[in-house]
Amino acid sequence: MKSINIDILSDFKIDINVDGDKVEIESTMENNPQLLNTLFNNNELPFAGIVLDTKDKNWIIYYIFLSKGKKIIITTKMPIIEKTFKSVSTYIHGADWFERELEDLFGINFEGHPKLGDFILHDDIWPEDVEPMRPDFDLSSIVPLYRKDIGTKRIVKEKGSFIMPIGPIFSGEEESVHFRLETIGEEIIKCHPRLFYKYRAIEKKAENKPVYQVLLLSERICGKTAVSHSLAFCLAVEEICQIKIPERASFLRMYLAELERIRHHIEVIGRICNSTGLLVAENQVSILEEGLLRISQELTGHRYLFSINQIGGLSWDIKDELIIEKTKEIGKILKELGKIKKMLISTSTFLDRLEQVGVLDISSVKDYAMVGPVARATGYNNDVRKYIPYLEYRDMEFDVSLEKEGDGYARLRIFFSEIEQSYNIMEQIVKKLPEGKVNTNVQLKRGSGIGIVEGPKGLCVQFVRIEDGGKIGRYRVISPSFFNWHGYHLAVEGFAFQDFPIILATFGLSAADNDR
């Protein structure tokens, strides 16, 4: 992650306000494309999403960028009657899906965007004028209208080409995703993933709900990465209310986040073994996963670490002896994993199916603003634990795992080495763990804040605006899978059908995380 010298932006006639690690820039709609182009393309800052909010009959659009030690937030005001914005996706390809989402849910037209329409709300179910996220929209007026499937625009027009549909109900226990694969035989030429079958409108459901209720919703965005999402929510609320959580809570939160990372990565490794048909390895790995789930239950009372994060700290204190004992048990589990790793990397049938399969290169990863282990497997270092440290990550010693090849095997190696690094952090936490309380009193205030967390799948960003009475005004979730699904088609195109499930497994994607 690069750092930025803010002086280079002086040509733009904009207000820059620096507050701690937050740089707020006020800009205008005309300026935006050029300004964002300067930040993204000329200075190579990672793009972290778009948030649209309303305030006093105005749209406020936030563009979030990250740089070393700083989060850069560009705000632009527009009157609420305005329905056309300038598209920035010609400069930032990663913003493409964000603009499509805003068009679908808010009814905002993006001038210059090549492909708007059918995205979150499927066109074969919903009428064109349904814009559920608009504050003045009457939800009770919506009537779903079932039409015939509108199909996909074909790109491959060669003789004998056809579309191979997969999903939404497919395979054993896969999540609901629909793929349309264009092919003329064995090779996948174009891949169109059709997502949002599980769109639960969590952002809409959160509106006008008390903060404590939304915390429960935030855990259920993606059950496998509940800690990272609820942590991002807690950080955002704590930023608004200016709460400093006790040191012990801070350390324990890191401990649980790393425990979750280990469990998530082990699950992904199990799925990779399954997709290559290595069933003994899959079962051996899933024994370890179940072991970690049981440890999680004994530590926090819940197998998936739900309900442990709380605004102002943790809901439950974990005894020191229990942590020391369980850390040793996790160490034993990881020793077992080490043995499995040794055998995996010497099994030629396994490696043949991963090496040079699903290759991504670093320039497309940058363009699509991809995050997490997928981006790090191409050598793109964007770990916010290192660059914009939250909690006590500043004091922790760990390396960010990086690989260069960008293929399936590189991603597998990233998962293995991140597990080692996470355990390394957990051991340091056990040594440094201070005594004291784990939660503080919370006084909710008005305002808006952003929480940025490095989850197991990658960057989790949450925007929260609290209104009077502790109710949520706007809740926005930017999840890591949303970035990575966007670039997923790059990895599959040009590979054979039998590689498709393997590439899907090595990406570690979640549909629930993406659909929200």
Partner: protein, 237 residues
């Protein structure tokens, strides 16, 4: 390849003794709240519960387990916390004809449909296949196609987008068939209140025979429900 076989064998048997013997290993279930008639003051607990799973009826505190999402707030709110039972046999039949004919006692095939799940319930269903729970030993198999399935497991709160695929999967199954709704979201909506895009329960769209509440229900609770459907004997000592 032989090394893998040896690795698998050298691990030994770790499969649970359930249903012959009750499994009490720590960490296999998040547990459920239990109310007792007593001196305890339940008013504050009822106020705290985010899904109204704990309620008062005829001056008797009760737990509606189909709404509980294991948020553990009733146990952690301070003094006078609720009692907690580390149970997992909590599947409930909706009507009396919930089980399949006795011919399915030895074996049944299961199709899982993800109707809007957060990933946790689906993972617990997946873990039923791992060596700890190993549902193959009881004759249950997960099948990739609804046409071969006898039992439909529906996980997650049902979304409008998944309604048609779910109905099609249900209709493609041969009769006799049974539906098991897994997870609080699919039973009562849980924390997801029904609105324009989600339904309050799977039973609004297809008939449900057995409910397994829980957020997520542990693997043994799901196994218990499947055994109920297949008339398996469950009398753990």
């Amino acid at each position: 390849m032989s090394r893998w076989v040896l690795t698998g064998l050298s691990r030994g048997i770790i499969t649970t003794k359930y249903p012959k013997k009750k499994d009490k290993t720590p960490g296999i279930t998040p547990g459920i709240p239990v109310t007792y008639m007593g001196n305890k003051i339940y008013e504050k607990i009822i106020e705290i519960c985010p899904t109204n799973a704990i309620y008062m009826k005829d001056n008797i505190p009760r737990v509606d387990i189909s709404k509980c999402i294991h948020c553990l707030r009733c146990i952690r709110h301070g003094k006078d916390s609720i009692s907690w039972a580390m149970d997992y046999e909590w599947a409930q039949a909706v009507h009396e004809h919930f089980s399949l004919p006795s011919i399915f006692k030895k074996s049944a095939h299961i199709r899982v449909v993800d109707a809007g799940d957060c990933g946790a319930c689906l993972n617990e269903v997946k873990l039923l296949n791992n060596p700890y729970y190993n549902m193959h030993r009881l004759g249950f198999f997960i099948t990739p196609t609804p046409r071969k399935a006898d039992i439909l497991l529906v996980v997650g709160c049902l979304t409008e987008h998944m309604k048609m695929p779910l109905i099609k999967a249900y209709e493609a199954m041969p009769s006799p068939k049974r539906v098991v709704a897994v997870g609080t979201c699919s039973v009562s909506g849980g924390i997801f209140q029904p609105d324009f895009i989600t339904y309050s329960s799977v039973s609004e769209v297809i008939p449900v025979d057995i409910y397994v509440p829980g957020c997520p229900p542990p693997p043994l609770a799901i196994l218990h429900a499947i055994m109920m459907v297949c008339n398996k004997e469950i009398n753990p000592k």
